[in-house]
């Protein structure tokens, strides 16, 4: 099939970017979306033009590296997948596809479609862990039975891949879904309760410092999350935060 692309090109963080049009022929339905971009880049290289830079790595939807806004939707038109899992069969011959980077103050553009998501790392560094030494001798793993439901709910929150689609989808560029997923994973486990108060306060403080917006409960993040992280996590984080604030 033949497709028409409009892609955000930006040389570096300090220069202005713009949408640039490209036409691609001979695209097959079985190709993944990123393989389509590979084809484009090979064409650009053969014409001595600079290829389009985009972040990608595992190409199986788990590393969270790919970060493309496709026709105005994070990771494109399909649901519950990342851009690397999207296939060209989701498009039709003659379609125009607009590709942009995530747009958020806390995710500055590095080049073309690549953004800097180190703000996410700093939120995790503020408290996304349980303070046990890895070289220590903890109790036997089965010494703490955990209700299956709690363990499953904790797992579901823990499947966040940190891609940033929630921020990109949010009109306020809020990182509440991302932050609350980590807060929830630990809040739901007995091992994580010990530091629950400090954790939620520190992670939320860092989230605000990074310049992410506030949550107004529109739920766009949940719709676009490739891993189906639930809004319930945000509600849980709000409860945790409130009770931590009262304590603090």
């Amino acid at each position: 099939m033949k497709i028409y692309l409009k892609i955000w090109r930006q040389k570096n963080p300090s220069t202005k970017g713009a949408m640039v049009a490209y036409t691609l022929d001979g695209i097959e339905a079985d190709m993944s979306f990123l393989e389509m971009l590979d084809v484009l880049n090979e064409e650009l290289i053969s014409k001595n033009e600079e290829p389009v830079e985009f972040d990608h790595d595992c190409r199986e939807g788990i590393c969270g590296t790919c970060s493309l806004m496709i026709n105005g939707r994070p990771h494109g038109p399909d649901t519950m997948i990342t851009a690397c899992q999207l296939h060209m069969r989701s498009f039709n011959d003659g379609d125009t596809i607009a590709i942009e980077p995530w747009r958020a103050k806390a995710f500055p553009v590095i080049k073309d479609l690549i953004v800097d998501r180190s703000s996410f790392d700093r939120i995790q560094q503020a408290g996304g862990y349980i303070s046990v030494n890895t070289s220590g001798r903890p109790v036997d793993a089965n010494a703490i039975p955990i209700e299956k439901e709690a363990a499953d709910a904790s797992f579901n929150a823990a499947t966040c891949i940190g891609c940033g689609a929630c921020v990109a989808a949010c009109k306020n560029a809020s990182a509440m879904l991302f932050t609350s997923a980590k807060v929830s994973q630990f809040a739901l486990l007995p091992q994580g309760r010990v530091e629950a108060t400090e954790r939620v306060m520190n992670m939320v403080r860092q989230m605000d410092l990074e310049g992410f917006g506030n949550c107004t409960n529109t739920g766009a993040c949940e719709v676009e999350c490739p891993k189906g992280i639930s809004l319930e996590n945000i509600a849980r984080m709000n409860r945790e935060y409130l009770s931590a604030s009262v304590k603090g």
């Binding site: 097959e28 790595d57 790392d121 503020a126 862990y129 793993a141 363990a151």
Partner: protein, 669 residues
């Protein structure tokens, strides 16, 4: 060819006491002195992340480097099935010895006994540790940890978190790292790639790294360098590795004196989604855990296979008695749960004989129908249903299967556009893991003093074939429980050394070398893209160094790769500039290394005149087509020393001695 004998530094004494005794005898560094010692860790997957976290907790100053934009994205994250540990929670006869035995046997008697035993010993700590860290493993309704079974074993010792075990374990290590980053004990360099290792007075004392955003070349010094940079399967272009996976750090260390061991030992995983066309950039694994419940088959009749390939027949239309469940037929004891090398070869054998089932003829079925009905009946009984109809049973069974493997089924459907609950999955082997890697002694030190290799980057524990759910085990064992002890022994001699300066002739030379190489790649301005060469290399590797190898083709592969490498340096085209983000330049550097390693790989395979594990030489097989080992002549580790040209590498042998296990012909029948 000159040969030397390598000293593995395995401690003396009974096998089960070696590690404890060693830990008691090695030197320690006191906490105040640890603050004056810097350690560089390259790679932040399970091995590197866990090593960095533990070393910094102990008090060392750690710098970590990863090419990804966050340590959390290392490809350990994609491991699906689980992590082995000899907990014997199921009471099914598991023990440290049995895990040790299974691993040595699974590796076809080409791994180092003492290392494997240590791995089995510390495996139980891993689970305790991860649960304490909040890793949400799967649990039973009673609240205790759940287990499942993997290939090549007869017990259930695999701990898992749905199909995302690697993700959860890596996020655990990443969290432990984050705690230390916040305390200032780890300085994390993301979007950085190590381009060379720096030796001062023969010891590893630092690295040259490139900031992948600014293009700046940086010098970093340390008292020791840990390489935890994963495997080199991307040599084959198509693999289940992530796109960025590369051999650069290990290869640079090799060129500076670290021996590269058993490069030809590569795991080709039996259950991957088949190749669909020329545009393909990567292959996706379907976890081995699926073989717990899926049955593998091809049609019994060639005409049926042909009709399926032509789209005239559907798999569900083939009657039970017209199907060949070839693994159950050939290996009744282990059935669908034979080790990976055995399962992969059996699939290739059927497809080569004309029974393949997709349009390329390179696919077999993995069928869940029997499991769905079995689980459905069980569920109906436990729900108190009497005489449920088939449709109800099927629906209940599909729910059970979804709870177990939901994410894998979804992944499959997105890629293939077929519903695996309704029609069998199609699978075919793909390159997945490399057992070979940098040679290390018992302390995980390479032949460069102060340069360590951990996780997939080293060679030590899996012999010629790795068992499922053992990669995660090894990565975490090396990083959390082995390296932090053994590195102390080395660093105890460095407490008076003081900071290693980066202004020295050795750093000057290494940086100059790196800059010249980048200039050469950028200035060639040839006619072909980097991918053009990578794909060509991948084809040579897959066709001549893949699941079945022979002397003639291996020699051809060596010649063809050498020629391709020459062409690459004359005709590669790298656009853009070196002083900015430049993904083509990143790829070019990685492929240049693969073009050297590929030749050594073929040389190693050619040199090993036997079949063992993932290394199958067509000349050496039993009449039934099983691998034929030659213990008399090849029971050793082949560790290669760099000599400028891969074809001129010098072989050093480490003889493998088995004192606690009887070396037998591996049988899964």
């Amino acid at each position: 060819m000159i040969m030397g004998i390598l000293d593995s530094k395995v401690p003396k004494g009974p096998l089960a006491d070696k590690w404890t005794k060693h830990k008691n005898e090695i030197d320690l560094v006191n906490p105040a002195n640890k603050r004056n010692i810097d350690v560089i860790v390259v790679g932040t997957g399970l091995a590197g992340g866990s090593a960095a976290a533990t070393l910094s907790e102990l008090g060392y100053n750690v710098k970590t480097f990863c090419y990804q934009d966050s340590p959390r994205r290392a490809h350990s994250i994609a491991a699906q099935g689980g992590v082995n540990a000899a907990k014997n929670y199921q009471g099914d006869g598991d023990s440290v010895y049995r895990l040790f035995y299974d691993t040595v046997k699974g590796g076809d008697y080409r791994s180092r006994e003492a290392n494997v035993h240590r791995l089995a010993e510390v495996s139980t700590n891993i689970i305790d540790q991860c649960v304490a860290q909040g890793v949400p493993f799967a649990r039973e309704y009673g609240g205790l940890l759940d287990n499942r079974s993997f290939g090549g074993v007869l017990v259930s010792r695999t701990f898992y978190a749905k199909g995302q075990t690697g993700q959860q374990l890596l996020l655990g290590a990443y969290a432990a790292m984050n705690r230390q980053i916040q305390r200032g004990k780890i300085k994390s360099y993301t979007r950085h790639e190590m381009l060379d290792i720096v030796l001062v007075d023969g010891k590893a004392r630092g690295i040259i790294a490139r900031d992948l955003v600014s293009g700046e070349i940086e010098r970093h010094s340390g008292h020791a360098v840990v390489l935890a940079t994963g495997g080199y399967g991307n040599l084959f272009f198509l693999s289940t590795y992530c796109m960025g996976a590369n051999v650069m750090a290990a290869w640079k260390a090799h060129k500076r004196g670290a021996y590269f061991a058993n490069p030809c030992f590569t795991q080709i995983h039996p259950t991957c989604i088949p190749v669909s066309g020329d545009h393909q950039s990567k292959l996706t694994l379907m976890s081995e855990s699926l073989r717990n419940d899926g049955r593998i088959w091809v049609p019994k009749n060639l005409e049926d296979a042909k009709a399926i390939r032509e789209g005239k027949l559907k798999p569900t239309e083939i009657a039970e008695e017209e199907r060949d469940y070839y693994l159950e037929r050939r290996y009744p004891a282990f059935g669908n749960l034979v080790p990976r090398d055995v399962a992969s070869r059996a699939a290739k054998e059927r497809c080569d004989a004309g029974y393949g089932v997709n349009k390329t003829g390179e696919a077999v079925y993995l069928d869940f129908d029997a499991a769905i009905m079995r689980y459905g009946r069980e569920k109906a009984l436990t729900s108190g249903m009497k005489n449920p109809d088939d449709a109800t049973v099927r629906k209940l069974g599909e729910e059970v299967v979804e709870a177990k493997y939901g994410n894998l089924f979804q992944m499959y459907e997105k890629i293939v556009d077929q519903n695996p609950y309704k029609t069998p999955m199609m699978i075919y082997p793909a390159v997945h893991y490399t057992m070979g890697g940098l040679w290390v002694d018992y302390n995980l030190m390479t032949t460069i003093p102060g340069c360590y290799a951990a996780g997939e980057a080293n060679f030590s524990d899996h012999g010629a074939n790795r068992l499922g759910a053992s990669a995660l085990m090894q990565g975490l064992a090396d990083g959390y429980f082995v390296l932090p002890y053994t590195i102390g022994d080395y660093l105890s001699k460095d407490i008076r050394t003081g900071k290693i300066p980066t202004e020295s002739p050795e750093f000057d030379e290494a940086e100059k070398h790196v800059r010249e190489r980048i200039d050469k790649l950028m200035s060639t301005k040839g006619t072909h893209s980097v991918d053009y060469y990578h794909k060509k290399l991948g084809k040579i590797m897959w066709n001549k160094c893949g699941m079945a190898r022979n002397a003639k083709e291996l020699q051809e592969a060596m010649d063809e790769i050498a020629e391709l490498r020459k062409d690459f340096w004359e005709n590669v085209k790298v656009p853009g500039t070196p002083d900015s983000k430049n993904q083509e330049l990143e790829k070019a550097g990685r492929v240049a290394d693969f073009l050297e390693l590929g030749e050594l790989f073929a040389k190693d395979a050619l040199d090993r005149n036997e079949s063992c594990g993932g290394h199958f030489r067509e000349e050496y097989q039993t009449p039934e087509g099983e691998a034929l080992r030659d213990d008399e002549n090849y029971q050793y580790v082949a560790a290669w020393e760099y000599q400028g040209d891969p074809s001129k590498a010098i072989l050093h042998k480490e003889d493998l001695v088995y004192e606690n296990i009887e070396v037998k012909t591996r049988s899964y029948k």
